[in-house]
Structures are given as structure tokens and as C-alpha cells.
């Protein structure tokens, strides 16, 4: 029997029971659609995260306390000494590859204005911070050197804070209660929007580093140092120099592990890429399980179909169909079902991913290899779950099949 004839036979049989075929293949449709959607969204999220990190400035370095390279963002912050303002000064003045260095402390605090209050992330920073992060002011002014020098009770707030606490009122010059300190608002940051992980980046407030350590935390530690090199190509150089300097300043003996680490954005980028990659794979795997369930649905219906059509099988065998012809017929039917499901699912999955990308403001990318893989996987599902019913049909004895009522 020719493949073309078998194929047309399969289509005829499936079209004969349109509703049943459609429902049977629904499992595969949903499975493939889910897999492709997850991959497309994962791809978009990765693209957005890496793009976001790149936009932070590719010549940015972050000095953080904590264990060596083997523990990304790891180690206990508590057991490791933080940095000091003198460390920041030393990095700025002694490392020639470094152009800017800024202290950065953060803590969640309550802001109160009038009868409204809001919990936000408060940053205690030095003025370079804004330049390193390439984040400017929307209205008013940023914090400056003299604010830091005198520990001024001034602050700059994000757009969300303004919207939530001030509504239509002008926040500039207003006295805002930060923790238990009264601060004058001197500026409103430019709007930054939501981060990839759903964090509102405008729900923040900034105050001079000096004010922060004196009035909020009560000690003069620096939790994090933001550093900018003059040029991209000096990052590795700066990193080495900062590491050497910090080992010296923190009295780390040769052979001992660092109790701090310096990260550049490329590392962060690849780390975030890995995280989203793992998440995508995980979600796609869960989705793939539904594809498997879809396959079982196909097997179920194919088994019913073989029983229903036992007589037909007998007739075909009587006029000369070999076991292999019958096997081919039913296997191909299962594969066509799965392939149709795969194709419909791929279309739906891509459409859904496109829609969700728009809704989530993610970049949309067609996961070409993922789509191909999901489709091929659906075919494999068709083969695997089609073989058993098809073999059952092929092994029928002609006379028994003919006599079947």
C-alpha cells in the first residue's frame, strides 16, 4: 500500500468524525500551545532583563560584601563586614580605572505625608549614584555634594511616591516624614517604570548617604558600592584593581577567599539569563506534561476506533491488507491527529504569546527552535501513543475481525 493512499485514508477517517477528532486532538493542541507560549514568554523576558541590565550602563561595577564567586549574591551579609565611606573614597581616588564610585545603602521605610503613608525602598546615596545609574531628575534637583557633606534633611522621591502621597499637589518643597525624620523634598526622579520582575522602580526615595547612616541606621556602614569606569574596556582592569585594593584594606591574607565580590553587568546579565532560562525550561516542562496527557487521549480514542472498526479491518484483510498496512493506517491516523494538534497548537501558542507579550510589555520573539521542537514532540507523541492501538489492529486475525459484531 502506498503512503499517499494511507494518508488520504487517514484524513477520510478523521474527517468522518470531525468533532471527535477535534476533541481528541485538543489535548495536544493545549500542550503544544502551552509549551510554545512559555518559551516565547521566557524568551521575551530574557531579552527584556538583559536589555534592562545593559541599559544600567555597561561600564558599571557593583562591590558587594559576601563570599567568593562560587556564591552568587550569596553568603551571609551578617557575618561579613560591610564597607565604609573611606572604602568608597579609596576606590574613587586610588583605582585609576574608576571614574565614579558611590555608596549605596537601602532599607524599607515608611513615608508619611499628611494623612497618607507608604512603605518604600529608601536609598542612602552619594550624588555619583545617579550618574552611575544614568537616572536623572524629572523635576527639581538631585541630591548634591553639600547635601551629603552636611547630612541635609533633604530627599528626592520617585513618581509613584508622588502619585500616592501627593496626588495633584506639588511635592517640591514639601516636608515629608521619612521613618521618624522630617525631610524636604527637593526633586522628583524621572519615571522608570516597572522592572522585569514586576517591581515598581518608581516606588523609591533617596536621601544623602550621611543623613541615612546617622538618622536611619545609626551606624556608618556602606552596604554596597556602585562604581563606574571611564570606558567599557577598562572594566576588567578596574575589577582587578578594586579586588586588590579591597583585599588589602580588609586584611585578607594571600590564599584566603575574598569576603566581598565585584560584579559587572555582564555577569549579572548572564546570571539573569540563566535564571529566566531555568524558569522557562521548568514551565515548558510542566506544559510538556499536558502534551503527554494529550497523547494518552489520542491513544484512548484510537483504541476505541480500532474496536469500532474491527469489521472494517476484517474486510480490508480479506481483500489483501497485510498486518503492516493496517498498522500503517492506524498509526498514520494517530500521527495525523497529533500533527494537526501540533500545528493548531503552535498557531494558538504563538498568537497567545504575542497577545501576552503586548499585555506584559515584553518584547515578542518567535521561539523558532522551541516551536519546531514542540511540533516534533507532538509527532513523537502521536507515534508513541498510536503504536499500541495500531499494533492491536494489525494483529487481529482476519476471520475473527470479519466475524466481529
Amino acid at each position: 500500500m502506498r503512503l499517499r493512499d494511507t494518508l488520504s485514508l487517514a484524513f477520510t477517517a478523521l474527517l468522518r468524525n470531525k468533532m471527535r477528532s477535534l476533541l481528541t486532538t485538543l489535548g495536544v493542541v493545549i500542550g503544544v500551545a502551552a509549551v510554545i507560549m512559555m518559551q516565547a514568554l521566557g524568551l521575551g523576558a530574557t531579552a527584556r532583563v538583559t536589555g534592562e541590565i545593559a541599559s544600567m550602563g555597561s561600564n558599571m561595577l557593583v562591590l558587594m560584601p559576601g563570599g567568593g564567586q562560587r556564591q552568587p549574591f550569596g553568603g551571609s551579609f551578617l557575618s561579613v563586614p560591610l564597607f565604609t565611606a573611606r572604602d568608597v573614597d579609596a576606590i574613587r581616588s586610588e583605582v585609576d580605572a574608576v571614574r565614579l564610585a558611590a555608596a549605596s545603602n537601602t532599607r524599607a521605610v515608611n513615608l508619611v505625608y499628611g494623612d497618607k503613608s507608604r512603605s518604600v525602598s529608601l536609598y542612602g546615596v552619594t550624588p555619583e549614584w545617579f550618574e552611575i545609574r544614568e537616572w536623572g531628575v524629572g523635576r527639581g534637583r538631585l541630591l548634591d555634594e553639600s547635601d551629603v557633606q552636611f547630612g541635609a534633611k533633604r530627599c528626592v522621591v520617585g513618581r509613584t511616591v508622588v502619585r500616592e502621597l501627593f496626588g495633584d499637589q506639588d511635592p517640591l518643597g514639601a516636608e515629608l516624614r521619612v521613618h521618624d525624620l522630617s525631610c524636604e523634598i527637593v526633586g522628583v526622579m524621572a519615571e522608570k517604570g516597572t522592572s522585569t520582575f514586576g517591581m515598581d522602580q518608581d516606588d523609591v526615595a533617596f536621601m544623602p548617604y550621611t543623613t541615612f547612616v546617622r538618622r536611619i541606621t545609626g551606624d556608618d556602614h556602606v552596604a554596597m558600592v556602585m562604581i563606574s569606569t571611564g570606558a567599557d574596556d577598562r572594566i576588567d582592569e578596574a575589577k582587578e584593581q578594586i579586588e586588590a585594593l579591597m583585599r588589602q584594606r580588609r586584611h585578607i591574607l594571600p590564599g584566603e577567599d575574598d569576603d566581598f565580590n565585584v560584579r559587572d553587568m555582564r555577569e549579572l546579565q548572564s546570571l539573569m539569563g540563566t535564571v529566566t532560562g531555568v524558569l522557562t525550561t521548568l514551565l515548558a516542562s510542566v506544559a510538556a506534561i499536558s502534551l503527554l496527557v494529550g497523547g494518552i487521549g489520542i491513544m484512548n480514542i484510537m483504541l476505541v476506533s480500532v474496536t469500532e472498526r474491527t469489521r472494517e479491518i476484517g474486510i480490508r484483510m480479506a481483500v489483501g491488507a497485510r498486518g503492516g498496512d493496517i498498522l500503517q493506517q492506524f498509526l498514520l491516523e494517530a500521527i495525523v491527529l497529533a500533527a494537526l494538534g501540533g500545528a493548531i497548537g503552535a498557531g494558538l501558542g504563538l498568537a497567545a504569546a504575542y497577545g501576552l507579550s503586548l499585555a506584559l510589555k515584553l518584547p515578542f520573539a518567535i521561539p523558532a527552535s522551541g516551536t519546531a521542537l514542540a511540533f516534533v514532540f507532538s509527532l513523537v507523541v502521536g507515534v508513541i501513543f498510536g503504536v499500541f492501538p495500531a499494533r492491536k489492529a494489525a494483529r487481529l486475525r482476519p476471520i475473527e475481525a470479519l466475524r466481529f459484531e
Binding site: R2, R311, I315, A318, V319, G320, I399
Partner: protein, 254 residues
């Protein structure tokens, strides 16, 4: 009975060869068929010797349960004997793989059943083409040969009709066309008129008679109806799984 004993029994049996001494077209030698096992075993055939030569028109007669249908199924390679040997042109069928049996059914036999056994939701022409599909005949030739077969059974123009749109007699004609389309040597008909009224039955029998007379097709027909059997030139009567009588009727209509 083990296999060796079986073989000896077959060997000792006088060969059921004809006058010529050459192997017959179809030959059953000491064929037995048992369904089930132990006490529940049903012996459908209890040692049948039967030789059918090319061009014969044989009616297999007997009451229901006498084993005539079982013998027919074995002749058509739809079923296999429990013991004894079935030879086609001297070649023992028992050792052939199932794919070869399928090819035998496809090329050398045409089946006609009491219940027609057409694919009910498939157009007449597609039903007729069925054997050709499995013979690997290309589409165009398939259609041409199927139309010719349809014309041969007097139903030209009904190629698009589906079995449920046709009368019983017409359905049986479609089935005959399907049996003929592959140019087989033997037509095996199991109660071909069983579901038809006597007038339609007579028409079908005339058609079969014509195939035997004009095309030289060998026809083996199972029936319990003496009147229908009159169309055949040889009557083989079964009783309790054995052949009771085997008579050639030279005077029968040719």
C-alpha cells in the same frame, strides 16, 4: 497429536490428486479445525480431503454448523487449519508467513459474503478499488479497473453511491465487482444469496454462473439452499465436519 504424528498421518493418507496426477488448484488434505480447548473444544472439521481444479464451480452444502463455512475460510486463507495440510497449486499454505497469506487473498481470491461486507460509508467505487490499493496499483489505473468491474456487474453509473443507498442485490453486485477487480482465479462465495430475495438471488447466481462460464473463474460457493446449488456443477456436502458426499453433475447448466 504432536507435529510428527500429524505429518505422518498426512503422508499416509492417499493423495487427493485428480486423474492427471498433477497438484490441484486448491487441496485440503486431512484438514481438521478445532475451536477452544479441552472439554469445551468444538471440532468444526474432522479430517477433510478436498481437491478443487481450475474452472470448477463447486457448491459446498450442508446444514448450519456442519463445517462448510470453516472449510471455506480455510480455502480463502482467512483461517488456518488446526491439523492437516492446505495446498495451493501444490504449495503448503501452513508454513507461509501472514504477509504472503494476505498477498494470496489479494491476488488469487475474491470474496463474496452473505452480509456483503462493504465499507458502509465509502462510495461504491472506493469499495471496489480496495483490493487494488493493497496491490499497490496506482490511482488512475485503480479507478479505470474499478469502473470496468462495476460495468461488468451491471452497475455502471453508480460509482458514487454508498452501500446504504443501494438495494441488497446492488450491494452484492458491488461486492462481486470488488471480488473481480483484482483478476483473481478463485471466487469464494459464502452464502452469496442468503440475504437476498429469491429473484435477486437468481440474478446474482446468473452473474456468478456467467463468470465461471465466460471468464473461466473457479468458484467455490457455500450454501444451504439446494435450489441455489443447482447452478454449480459439483456438490460437496458436509456433515459434522466431514465430507458426506462429493458429486459431479455433468448435466448442470454450463
Amino acid at each position: 497429536m504432536d507435529a510428527d504424528q500429524e505429518r505422518r498421518t498426512v503422508a499416509e493418507r492417499p493423495p487427493a490428486t485428480g486423474a492427471s496426477g498433477a497438484p490441484g488448484l486448491l487441496e485440503l488434505r486431512g484438514v481438521t479445525k478445532t475451536y477452544g480447548e479441552g472439554d469445551a473444544a468444538v471440532h468444526a472439521l474432522r479430517g477433510v480431503d478436498l481437491r478443487i481444479d481450475p474452472g470448477e464451480f463447486v457448491a459446498i452444502l450442508g446444514t448450519s454448523g456442519c463445517g462448510k463455512s470453516t472449510a471455506m475460510n480455510i480455502l480463502g486463507c482467512l483461517d488456518s487449519p488446526s491439523g492437516g495440510e492446505y495446498r495451493i497449486e501444490g504449495v503448503s499454505v501452513g508454513t507461509l508467513p501472514t504477509d504472503v497469506l494476505a498477498a494470496l487473498r489479494n491476488r488469487r481470491f475474491g470474496f463474496i459474503f452473505q452480509g456483503f461486507n462493504l465499507l458502509s460509508r465509502t462510495a461504491a467505487i472506493d469499495n471496489i478499488e480496495l483490493p487494488l490499493i493493497y496491490a499497490g496499483v496506482p490511482r488512475g489505473e485503480r479507478r479505470r479497473r474499478a469502473l470496468a468491474a462495476l460495468a461488468k456487474v451491471g452497475l455502471a453509473g453508480r460509482e458514487g453511491a454508498r452501500p446504504n443507498q443501494l438495494s441488497g442485490g446492488q450491494q452484492q453486485r458491488i461486492a462481486i465487482a470488488r471480488a473481480l477487480v483484482g483478476d483473481p482465479e478463485v471466487i469464494l462465495a459464502d452464502e452469496p444469496t442468503g440475504n437476498l430475495d429469491s429473484r435477486t438471488g437468481a440474478e446474482i447466481m446468473a452473474l456468478l454462473g456467467g463468470l465461471n462460464r465466460d471468464l473461466g473463474l473457479t468458484i467455490v460457493m457455500v450454501t444451504h439452499d439446494r435450489e441455489i446449488a443447482e447452478h454449480a456443477r459439483r456438490h460437496v456436502t458436509f456433515r459434522d465436519g466431514q465430507i458426506l458426499s462429493d458429486t459431479r453433475r455433468e448435466g448442470a447448466p454450463r
